[in-house]
C-alpha cells in the first residue's frame, strides 16, 4: 500500500492556530506567581571608569527588593571568547552597557527606583571606527585581553583591540597580482544594523531556594544558555533549567547568550522569586547585540579574459565592546570573502576589533552578506574595467565540480549547481515583464543586476542535534527535539520529516512546542539554517532506532527473527507474507501474549547527528574542512531609479537557490521571500546611526527604518528552487533560510549601476545618496 510522501507538501504550520488566535505563548506572556520586575540603568558613556554608582535613594523606594551593580562581579560570559561581564564592573565600554539593575515588586516601582540611581563616570577616550581602533596608539578597551578564556581556534592579541585575526593564505598572492593584466582595488562598507525582531528579548530568572536556577527566555539556544550560566556560576548543569517557548523572531540576535547572564546575575539578589526583564524597543538596540559593521578592502588581479588570478582581502569588523559572535563571524566572513569563485592565490586577513559600541553578534547570514556585498560588487567593478559582461565574468570563475575553494575543500556536483542558478536568474531577468508604469519618463531609468552567493553553516565543529521518539498507546508519536521555533517553521518541517521516516500520517506526529533543557534532547543551537538538515537527520535516526525496537517486539510476538520484518505504512509486516502485519500502535508500547506475559515495552528511539570531519582552520593558512555543506544560489534585481528624487524602486527580486529537497513549499518560499525583504532593509534603509559620543541616535522604529508593506508590495518576488540533494541530509534537504538575505544588496547595487552608472560601495543605498552621486558626476563633468 503506497502512501503519499510528506515531503514537498505544503501542510499548514503546526503552530498556526495558536499564533492566529493569540494563544501562542512567548516569554512575556508567561505568568509566574510572585514575579518581581527588573529595570536596568545603562551607561551614558561610551568608555569610562565607573567612579560611583549611587543607589541609596533607589533602595528606599517602597517595593524595591534589591538594587544590584556589577561591582566585584567575577563572572565573564561570551560565545567564543569569555570577555563580557553581565553588568559593567569597574568600567563601561559602550553606551547602553548595564551598570545597575533594580528589582521591584511591580514595574512601576522598578521604574521609579531606576530614575533615582545616579552614576558618576570618569570618561576615557573612546573609539568607534575599527580602522582607528586597530591603530597602534588606540585606546584599549580590554586591558585584560590576555587573561580571558577562549575557544582554541581563535586568536586574540593582548595589548591591542584585536580579539581575533583570521588568516587565509593560498598560493602566492603577490605573484598572482604581478602576473595579472589588470588590478582592481576598492573599499567597501557595511554598517551596523539591528535585527529589529518584533518580539523584544525577555528573560525570567528564578534562583530556587534548593539551589536550582530556572530560566525562561526568548532564546534560540537553550542548551548554550544552560552551559553558559552553569559554567559561569559554577553550578552543575543538571541544576540549571532553561525553558524556551515560542520566539517572536530571532535572526541570530537571540542566539548564544544575550540578556540571560544579566538577569540571572541580578536575580541572585532575590532568591526564591522569579525576576523578569523584558527589553524596551530602545534597549533592543543598545541592550543586546547588533549585526554587521564591516569595513573591507579588496584587491583583485585578473587576466584580460576575466580569469581571476589573485585576490588580497582585508576585513575589519567593528565588533563592539565584547567579542560575542562577531569573533566567529570574522572567520566566517573571512573564508567567504572571495565569494563563490575559484581563486588560485588568496590572502585574507579578517580582524575582529573592539570598538566602544554595542557588541556585534550573530545576524542572519552570519558574515556572508558582508562578504558578498564586497565580493559581488567587486565582480561588477572588474566586469566594468575589463568591459566583460558581468554574467560571463562570473561564470568564468565560479566554483564548479572539481574546483577547490578558498580554504581547500574540493567541490563536487553534490554541493549544488551554481551555474544553473545563475542561468535561471538571468533567464528570469530577461523575461522582463514590466510591472507598473510602462510609460517612459526621461528622468526614470531601468537596470538589472545579478549577484551570486554561497553559504555554509558556520558553527562549532561538533555541533550536535539530537532527537527522541516515543509513542502513545494509539500509535501517535511524540518527537522531542532541542531546536526552537522562531518563525522558520522548524516544528512543521520536522513533523513532516518524522512522518516520512515513520511512514505515518503527519497528523499522528506531535513535536513538543516548548524546549526544556531538563527534558528535551540536546541541540547545539538553532542557527545557521541547519535545523531541517541536522535535526531532520537526528529524527530519522531516532525513528530508525524505534522501528528496530518495534521489529524486535514483533519478531518475538511472531517467533521469527527481526531481519524478516519490514517497516511499512504505519505498520510492520513479515516480508515473505505482507498480509501478516501489526499496526505500529499495537507494538510501540510492547505487546502482551495471549496468556498475559509481556513482550518488550514502550519503545523509545534516540538519534543524534553531528556533521563529521569538520576541523579548525589552520592558524596560518586558514585552510581546513571548515564547511559541512554548501548552498549555492544567485539573486537578481530589476530596479528603476528616479534621477530627480533618487528614489530606488525595486521592481523585481529573484532568487534561484539550489536547496535540495523542499519539505514544505509554502514555508520554504516564505523563508526565501522573507529573507529577501529582510535583506532589502540592509540594502536600502537600515543603519544604526551613532552620535559623536557613541549614542545610538535612531534607537526606535520611528527612525530605524525596516521594510514596510509599502516597500514590499510594489515588488514582484520570484523564487526558483533547484534540487541537488544534500547527500548528508536524510531526504536531501539543504539549508535555505538565511540565504535569501546574502546577495540582495549587491544585486540591487549592480542593477543601479547598470541603470545609472552610479556605483555604491557602502550601505544603505538611499535616494539621497543617489542624488549626491549624480551631482558629483555632474560636477566632475563641469
Amino acid at each position: 500500500m503506497a502512501e503519499k510522501s510528506w515531503l514537498g507538501r505544503s501542510i499548514a504550520r503546526v503552530d498556526a492556530v495558536d499564533k492566529v488566535t493569540g494563544a501562542a505563548e512567548y516569554v512575556a506572556d508567561i505568568r509566574l506567581p510572585n514575579t518581581l520586575h527588573m529595570k536596568v540603568v545603562r551607561s551614558t558613556q561610551a568608555h569610562a571608569h565607573i567612579v560611583k554608582v549611587d543607589t541609596h535613594r533607589a533602595e528606599q523606594v517602597h517595593g524595591v527588593v534589591a538594587v544590584v551593580t556589577g561591582q566585584n562581579c567575577p563572572y565573564l560570559f561570551g560565545s567564543c571568547i569569555f570577555d563580557q561581564p553581565p553588568m559593567a564592573t569597574h568600567k563601561v565600554r559602550f553606551v547602553g552597557e548595564p551598570v545597575a539593575a533594580v528589582i521591584g515588586r511591580s514595574r512601576d516601582v522598578a521604574l521609579e527606583a531606576m530614575d533615582l540611581i545616579r552614576v558618576k563616570y570618569e570618561p576615557l577616550p573612546a573609539v568607534f571606527d575599527p580602522q582607528q581602533a586597530i591603530a597602534p596608539k588606540a585606546p584599549l578597551l580590554h586591558e585584560g585581553l590576555g587573561q580571558y578564556r577562549y575557544v582554541p581556534s581563535f586568536h586574540p592579541q593582548p595589548g591591542t583591540n584585536i580579539f581575533h585575526h583570521y588568516k587565509l593564505r593560498k598560493g602566492d598572492v603577490n605573484k598572482g597580482l604581478q602576473q595579472a593584466d589588470v588590478v582592481v582595488e576598492n573599499r567597501y562598507q557595511f554598517p551596523h544594523i539591528s535585527h529589529a525582531q518584533l518580539e523584544p528579548h525577555g528573560t525570567i530568572a528564578l534562583w530556587e531556594r534548593n539551589g536550582q536556577l530556572k530560566i525562561w527566555s526568548s532564546a534560540q539556544s537553550p542548551f548554550f544558555v544552560r552551559h553558559s550560566l552553569a559554567g559561569a556560576f559554577g553550578l552543575p548543569h543538571a541544576q540549571v533549567k532553561v525553558v524556551v517557548p515560542y520566539i517572536g523572531g530571532g535572526f541570530g540576535g537571540k542566539s548564544d547568550v544575550t540578556i540571560e547572564p544579566l538577569v540571572a546575575y541580578a536575580a541572585r539578589a532575590a532568591v526564591g522569586y522569579p525576576v523578569r526583564l523584558i527589553l524596551t524597543r530602545e534597549e533592543m538596540f543598545s541592550g543586546t547585540v547588533l549585526g554587521r559593521g564591516c569595513w573591507a578592502r579588496i584587491k583583485t588581479g585578473v587576466q584580460k579574459d576575466g580569469t581571476i588570478l589573485s585576490e588580497e582581502i582585508e576585513l575589519l569588523f567593528g565588533g563592539g565592546a565584547y567579542g560575542d559572535c562577531c569573533i566567529n563571524i570574522v572567520a566566517g566572513a573571512g573564508h567567504n570573502a572571495p565569494g563563490p569563485y575559484e581563486i588560485p592565490n588568496l590572502k585574507v586577513d579578517s580582524y575582529g576589533v573592539y570598538t566602544n559600541t554595542p557588541p556585534v553578534g550573530a545576524y542572519r547570514g552570519y558574515g556572508h552578506p558582508e562578504a558578498h556585498w564586497m565580493a559581488e560588487r567587486q565582480m561588477e567593478m572588474i566586469a566594468q574595467k575589463l568591459k566583460i559582461n558581468p554574467v560571463t565574468l562570473r561564470r568564468r570563475n565560479i566554483l564548479r565540480p572539481g574546483s577547490v575553494n578558498a580554504f581547500g575543500q574540493k567541490m563536487d556536483a553534490s554541493h549544488g549547481d551554481l551555474d544553473k542558478c545563475i542561468q535561471q536568474v538571468v533567464h528570469e531577468l530577461q523575461k522582463g515583464t514590466v510591472r507598473g508604469s510602462s510609460k517612459k519618463a526621461a528622468h526614470k531609468v531601468r537596470g538589472t543586476g545579478i549577484a551570486a552567493f554561497m553559504k555554509s553553516p558556520v558553527m562549532a565543529t561538533n555541533a550536535a542535534s539530537c532527537a527522541t521518539v516515543n509513542f502513545g498507546e494509539d500509535g501517535t508519536v511524540n518527537v522531542l527535539v532541542g531546536c526552537t521555533e522562531m518563525g522558520q517553521g522548524s516544528f512543521t518541517v520536522l513533523s513532516q520529516i518524522a512522518a516520512e521516516a515513520l511512514k505515518v500520517p503527519v497528523e499522528k506526529v506531535k513535536i513538543n512546542r516548548i524546549i526544556d533543557t531538563d527534558v528535551n534532547p540536546y541541540e547545539w543551537q538553532t542557527v545557521a539554517s541547519s535545523t531541517t538538515w541536522k535535526v531532520g537527520n537526528a529524527i530519522a535516526r531516532a525513528v530508525g532506532q524505534a522501528i528496530q525496537q518495534i521489529k524486535e517486539i514483533a519478531a518475538e510476538a511472531w517467533g521469527v527473527s527481526s531481519e524478516e520484518i519490514e517497516h511499512g505504512p504505519d505498520r510492520v509486516f513479515l516480508r515473505k507474507n505482507p498480509k501478516k502485519f501489526l499496526p505500529l500502535s499495537s507494538v510501540a508500547m510492547g505487546r502482551v501474549k495471549p496468556d498475559g506475559q509481556a513482550i518488550g515495552g514502550p519503545v523509545v528511539g534516540y538519534g543524534r547527528f553531528v556533521p563529521q570531519g569538520l576541523t579548525y582552520p589552520d592558524p596560518e593558512t586558514g585552510q581546513g574542512n571548515l564547511a559541512a555543506e554548501w548552498t549555492f544560489g544567485c539573486q537578481g534585481a530589476d530596479v528603476e531609479v528616479d534621477l530627480r528624487t533618487g528614489h530606488i524602486q525595486v521592481i523585481r527580486l529573484i532568487t534561484a537557490i539550489d536547496a535540495g529537497q523542499i519539505v514544505n513549499p509554502i514555508l520554504a518560499r516564505g523563508q526565501v521571500v522573507g529573507a529577501m525583504v529582510y535583506g532589502l532593509g540592509a540594502a536600502l534603509s537600515e543603519k544604526v546611526i551613532y552620535s559623536p559620543e557613541g549614542w545610538i541616535r535612531n534607537d526606535s522604529l520611528t527612525d530605524y527604518k525596516v521594510p514596510t508593506p509599502g516597500d514590499a508590495s510594489s515588488i514582484e518576488f520570484k523564487v526558483v528552487f533547484l534540487d541537488t540533494p544534500l547527500p548528508d541530509s536524510v531526504y536531501g534537504a539543504r539549508p535555505l533560510a538565511e540565504h535569501g538575505t546574502v546577495s540582495v544588496a549587491p544585486a540591487i547595487a549592480n542593477a543601479i549601476g547598470h541603470a545609472t552608472e552610479i556605483q555604491f560601495f557602502a550601505l544603505p543605498m538611499t535616494a539621497e545618496r543617489v542624488v549626491e552621486k549624480l551631482k558629483m558626476k555632474e560636477d566632475r563633468r563641469c
Binding site: R13, D108, P200, G249, L667, V677
Partner: protein
C-alpha cells in the same frame, strides 16, 4: 491616581480600577490577561498591539486604559468562536502568512477592521489598512495574499 472604568472587552462587561498611567495595552495584558495583544515597540510604530476600539483599529500602546471608558474593545482572543476560526485566521494559516506569529494578532485585527469597512476592498485599501504593520519574517507577500483571498471569497 485610580479610576474605575466600565467597558466591554470581547463581548464581556468589565468593571475595574485602573491607574491613570496604565496604557490600554498594559491593561489588556496585565489586568485582563489577554496575552494575544503584543508589545513590539511602545511607540505605535509596529502594529503588534492593534485592537479594535468601537470597531476601529487603534494602537493600544498609545491609549490610556482610562480613555477606553464606555468603549467596546475587540482583541484577537475575541475573533474565533470556540474552535471555529474567523475567515481571516483561516486564510492566514492557509496562505502561509504566519511565521514567528508576533505581528499576527495585530495584523489580523487591522485586516478585520478593513473588511468591516469595505466588504470588497481594493488593493489600495488593503495596503492602506496594513501599511503601518511591520513584519520581519514574511516579507508581507503571504499576508497580502491572505487578506485578498478573504475579500475574494465574499459574495
Amino acid at each position: 491616581m485610580k479610576h474605575t472604568i466600565n467597558l466591554r472587552v470581547n463581548g464581556e462587561e468589565v468593571t475595574t480600577d485602573v491607574k491613570s498611567h496604565r496604557t490600554l495595552l498594559e491593561f489588556l495584558r496585565d489586568q485582563l490577561h489577554l496575552m494575544g495583544v503584543k508589545e513590539g515597540c511602545g511607540d505605535g510604530e509596529c502594529g503588534a498591539c492593534t485592537v479594535l476600539l468601537n470597531g476601529e483599529p487603534v494602537r493600544s500602546c498609545l491609549i490610556l486604559a482610562v480613555e477606553a471608558q464606555n468603549s467596546e474593545i475587540l482583541t484577537i482572543e475575541g475573533l474565533a468562536e470556540g474552535e471555529k476560526l474567523h475567515p481571516l485566521q483561516r486564510a492566514f494559516i492557509d496562505q502561509g502568512a504566519v511565521q514567528c506569529g508576533f505581528c499576527t494578532p495585530g495584523l489580523i485585527m487591522g485586516a478585520k477592521a478593513l473588511l468591516d469597512r469595505h466588504s470588497h476592498p481594493t488593493e489600495e485599501q488593503i495596503r492602506e489598512a496594513i501599511g503601518g504593520h511591520l513584519c520581519r519574517c514574511t516579507g508581507y507577500e503571504t499576508i497580502l495574499q491572505a487578506i485578498r483571498s478573504v475579500a475574494k471569497m465574499r459574495p
